[in-house]
């Protein structure tokens, strides 16, 4: 009996902690916009249009359909040729040193900006689960 209570207690507290950590989506998007301006805008530009031939677009980018792959690129960097919307790119994107929460925020912002649409909410846990 005692064990069951302990178990329930632990479950509730972990859920509570989890909910506490999870910030509202609109706050995440707002924070993500700031991160974008700080770390991403210089190459991917102010409307996510990228730079033809050098830096791929994020606006209506088919690369973003694979969310795990996109998170992986932000988290660990991206090297080697890729194809985005039918065009090939081969620039080196280095890891920006963002923490998991910041990556979740900037993903939530990117996935809802410049014509991008999604119902998916990226959480800190989701980012933490993406391994090298």
């Amino acid at each position: 009996m005692k064990v069951i209570f302990s178990f329930l207690f632990l479950s509730f507290s972990s859920i509570a902690i989890h909910l506490y950590q999870q910030k509202p989506l609109n706050q995440s998007i707002a924070d993500g916009e700031e991160i974008y301006a700080d770390f991403c805008l210089q190459c991917h530009m102010d409307n996510g249009q990228g730079v033809p031939g050098s830096f791929p677009p994020l606006a209506k980018s088919d690369y973003l359909k694979n969310i795990d792959q996109s998170i992986h690129a932000i988290k660990f960097g991206l090297k080697g040729p890729i194809t985005v919307n039918g065009k090939s790119y081969n620039s080196n994107m280095i890891s920006q040193g963002l923490d998991d929460e910041e990556i979740a925020d900037v993903m939530n912002y990117i996935l809802r900006s410049w014509g991008n649409k999604t119902d998916v909410i990226i959480t800190e846990d989701k980012v933490a689960a993406i391994q090298k």
Binding site: D38, F39, I94, G97
Partner: protein
């Protein structure tokens, strides 16, 4: 009229193009004939930020990701013993330079983004160290900028020396342009001057001003990533990244204000203006400004006779346009610009080696040595 034309054009050019000011000459040219080639002397380095020669055969290269390489006869070895490097945004392991008295003291200086201090985030730090058995020893923190911030931008950094026993290094505005560059009680947006032992020279311009950072030598800078000592005058020359447009070359003078962000030839990345003035009394004018921006990194004069016609010319890397730029300068005026190594990749650094050859750091490639064709 210009404003009207801009507005008129603006209606059509909705795609982020603002009203950039007129291109600044002289126009960049391609060489008439290419009488040089290059060889790779260190390969596979992602961001070869700093480069310094221990002797004619061996050199050290920093990779921004926080790795220090020792290279001798084409063999690249990782050096141990770096302090904590805070890799964040444009920051990481930055410049490295042997001391002018390296032959007798073995002292090496380097700058890095550092999380040391109480506040969250980081700022640029300067260390001295020595190299023994491929390990850094006697590593000392000489200067640490504050206040820390989690901003990713503008850490600088470059290191140079004069012949009077001083070390100079740069820190960028750390992404806080409204506060840092014009406030000499805070770090960031400055060129600093120290003695070789890290102490502050008694004749630094702001030593007697209450609350000021006594190591500051000049201020009002945005993000200087090029610094070199002029081979004849001994003056410290720097360049810095402007915003969109307005990268600058400056000659650094004690206590002077180089104007960022009060005056600039650039505009915001979004196309909106930062200020409507490009000059103001009491603020230094650049020796040259690049418009459009080339995103300059690394800076070196050719002092040797290795290359025909290049002696005395200034070389600057372009991250944005992926070439090495050669600038011919007469009476402190840029009279000719030329693309060297066109489309080579993002040029992060350029140094003249003790053998008189130019060594160029290219992102993703490594270190290239420019060799005249015989």
């Amino acid at each position: 009229m210009k404003t009207k034309l801009c507005l008129f054009l603006g209606v059509f050019a909705i795609v982020s193009s603002g009203c950039d000011a007129q291109e600044n000459g002289p126009k960049i040219e391609l060489p008439n004939s290419i009488d040089y080639t290059y060889e790779i002397v260190a390969d596979s380095i992602d961001i070869p930020w700093g480069l310094t020669f221990l002797n004619e055969k061996a050199f050290l290269v920093t990779d921004k990701a926080g790795v220090l390489y020792h290279i001798e006869n084409g063999i690249k070895t990782e050096v141990d013993g770096l302090p904590q490097v805070y890799v964040r945004g444009q920051g990481g392991l930055l410049d490295i330079a042997v001391s002018p008295d390296y032959a007798t003291t073995g002292t090496i200086y380097f700058t890095t983004s550092s999380p040391l201090g109480e506040d969250k985030g980081g700022h640029t730090a300067l260390y001295s160290t020595q190299l023994e058995n491929n390990t850094l020893v006697n590593t000392k923190l000489l200067y640490k900028g504050d206040y820390n911030t989690k901003k990713g931008q503008h850490w600088g950094s470059r290191i140079s020396f004069d012949d009077a026993g001083h070390l100079y290094f740069s820190i960028g505005d750390r992404g806080n342009r409204e506060v840092n560059p014009q406030d000499i009680t805070r770090d960031g947006g400055k060129i600093y001057r120290l003695n070789l032992d890290g102490s502050i020279p008694a004749d630094n311009p702001f030593v007697h001003l209450a609350n000021s950072r006594a190591a500051i030598y000049s201020y009002g800078h945005r993000n200087p990533q090029g610094m070199v000592t002029h081979p004849e005058t001994g003056e410290i020359w720097t360049h810095e990244h402007g915003p969109r447009g307005g990268d600058e070359i400056n000659i650094i003078k004690a206590g002077k204000n180089y104007g960022w962000p009060i005056i600039t030839y650039g505009i915001n990345y979004s196309g909106t203006p930062i200020t409507d003035i490009t000059q103001k009394e009491g603020l230094e004018q650049p020796l040259y400004y690049w418009l459009p921006s080339i995103a300059p990194s690394g800076m070196a004069f050719v002092t040797s006779d290795v290359y025909p016609n290049w002696k005395g010319d200034l070389f600057v890397g372009s991250l944005k346009f992926e070439y090495l730029e050669r600038l011919k300068i007469k009476s402190n005026k840029v009279v000719k610009r030329e693309k060297i190594l066109d489309s080579i990749g993002r040029v992060r650094n350029v140094e003249e080696g003790p053998d008189g050859f130019l060594y160029v750091g290219v992102e993703g490639k490594g270190i290239l040595k420019i060799v005249p064709k015989s």
